[in-house]
């Protein structure tokens, strides 16, 4: 009897706690406060584990200067990414010049200020493609700002702290990016399919000239989430389901999303 009562009490408590969690989640302001508080508790443990795990990991890697090599490698990847980005942007510049219309009013990353940041952690879970970076509100990084690296757009800022920020990658399943191709004549929406699966686009009109290797850049439509001309992806495959009136595309991100070490936050805010 007593066991039944204690079991019932345990269950009631568990249900109440879970209900509270759901309510906290739905009222996001409280949830983010809770996140920050809980972060503070876990941080010392993470630090201690890191301190133990890092040397052990280096030891098993078997090379004396492993950390230096990794750091150098990351820096080189960053520089290579910057070079690739400039090359990709050149293509977008050419397209814009051809338009000869309102390009003076179109913001572009080349003329926008950026803040460089280091990637501190990758998403700890299987179901979100995010990274944490080392610059936050104190450096002018705000929610909604685009983030570029490794040759193209990698995502946008979804959360900030004074000294850090969380970036949702374009490959996240919740990510949607408006892009354009065919000299700006066609606008479509690119959706993330998860960190391991790249990007895709559906409902691409049959009349458009889309082929493998077509470059897609952000459309910069008025009220859009990104400035125009940021390289997003190239077309990998074009499929047409029999009977369908639109193409489906699988896309290769322009930026290498798997090896992010340094990123640039574009100090550009979406217009309301």
């Amino acid at each position: 009897m007593a066991t039944d009562r204690s079991r019932r009490r345990t269950w009631t408590l568990s249900v109440a706690v879970l209900a509270t969690l759901i309510i906290l989640y739905l009222t996001t302001g409280v949830a983010s406060g809770l996140r920050s508080g809980a972060n503070l508790v876990v941080t010392p443990f993470s630090w201690a584990v890191n301190e133990i795990a890092r040397p052990a990991g280096h030891f098993f890697a078997g090379t004396v200067n492993y950390s230096d090599v990794v750091a150098q490698n990351q820096k080189l990847r960053y520089q290579l990414g910057e070079a690739e980005q400039r090359a990709n942007e050149g293509w977008a510049y050419a397209r814009q010049l051809q338009q000869l219309t309102t390009e003076l009013d179109v913001p572009f990353v080349g003329s926008l200020a950026t803040v460089s940041a280091q990637v501190t952690t990758l998403s700890p879970t299987n179901f979100a493609a995010t990274v944490d970076i080392s610059k936050g509100r104190d450096n002018g990084v705000l929610v909604g700002m685009p983030v570029v690296a490794n040759g193209g757009l990698i995502g946008s800022v979804i959360g900030t702290t004074p000294h850090g920020a969380t970036v949702r990658l374009i490959s996240d399943t919740a990510s949607l990016v408006g892009v354009t191709f065919a000299s700006g004549k066609t606008d479509i929406v690119v959706a993330g399919r998860g960190l391991n699966n790249g990007l895709s686009a559906s409902s691409v009109p049959l009349g458009t000239s889309v082929v493998q290797g077509t470059h897609l850049t952000t459309d910069g439509l008025n009220g859009g989430l990104f400035p125009a001309g940021l390289p997003v992806a190239t077309v990998k495959t074009v499929t047409l389901t029999p009977g369908a009136a639109t193409y489906n595309l699988t896309l290769q991100p322009a930026a290498d999303l798997r090896h992010l070490a340094y990123v640039d936050v574009v100090l550009w805010e979406p217009s309301p």
């Binding site: 345990t10 568990s14 706690v17 879970l18 969690l21 759901i22 906290l24 989640y25 949830a31 809770l34 996140r35 920050s36 809980a38 972060n39 508790v41 876990v42 443990f45 993470s46 201690a48 584990v49 890191n50 795990a53 952690t121 990758l122 998403s123 700890p124 879970t125 299987n126 179901f127 979100a128 493609a129 995010t130 979804i158 959360g159 969380t166 949702r168 399943t173 919740a174 399919r193 998860g194 960190l195 391991n196 699966n197």
Partner: protein
């Protein structure tokens, strides 16, 4: 149980830290092995029902503070696994001493297989309908294999932590 709250809580926080510092970076086939789910499962299999639920809640909530997935989902899955495992643990199923060596790993593998599925299913209740598009099948397969391999040592650790209080429940 009260005497065990502190050691279990501290061990759980260490498990969360190990998850965040090591397992979340060590991706196998692009998949993260979720020891924050395995730990409460092992506590449950060790027959520590209330502590398994407590550790599930703590591990899940603290892990959720670091992830951008809907807050509380990891905790929900952990609690479900802990409850299921503790039902088995109370019956002695999966006991490391009396059952065949493969029983505990097999139960854990089953849990590793269904846990990502529960996670994605539960995400619908938070009005998030996009999580299923990620690597669900790989997450299920990799976690099942990892849980199979790690089940015995983690359950042994859970039993050891449980023995700190002097008796098993």
């Amino acid at each position: 149980m009260r005497r065990l709250i502190v050691p279990v809580t501290l061990t759980t926080l260490v498990v969360v830290a190990v998850q965040l510092s090591i397992f979340s970076s060590l991706r196998f086939g692009g998949v993260v092995v979720m020891i924050v789910w395995l730990w409460p499962l092992a506590m449950g299999l060790a027959g520590l029902t209330a502590l398994a639920l407590w550790s599930a809640l703590i591990a899940g909530v603290f892990f959720d503070t670091h992830a951008s997935t809907p807050f509380g989902l990891t905790a929900l899955v952990a609690v479900a696994l802990a409850y299921g495992a503790s039902r088995l643990g109370r019956e002695g199923v999966g006991d490391l001493d009396s059952a065949a060596w493969w029983v505990t790993p097999l139960i854990a593998a089953g849990a590793g297989l269904v846990a990502p599925l529960i996670f994605v299913g539960a995400s619908f209740f938070t009005l998030n309908f996009s999580l299923w598009r990620d690597s669900l099948l790989s997450a299920m397969a990799v976690n099942a294999v990892a849980f199979f391999l790690l089940a015995r040592p983690i359950t042994r650790l859970a039993r050891w932590v449980g023995s700190l209080g002097g008796s098993r429940r």
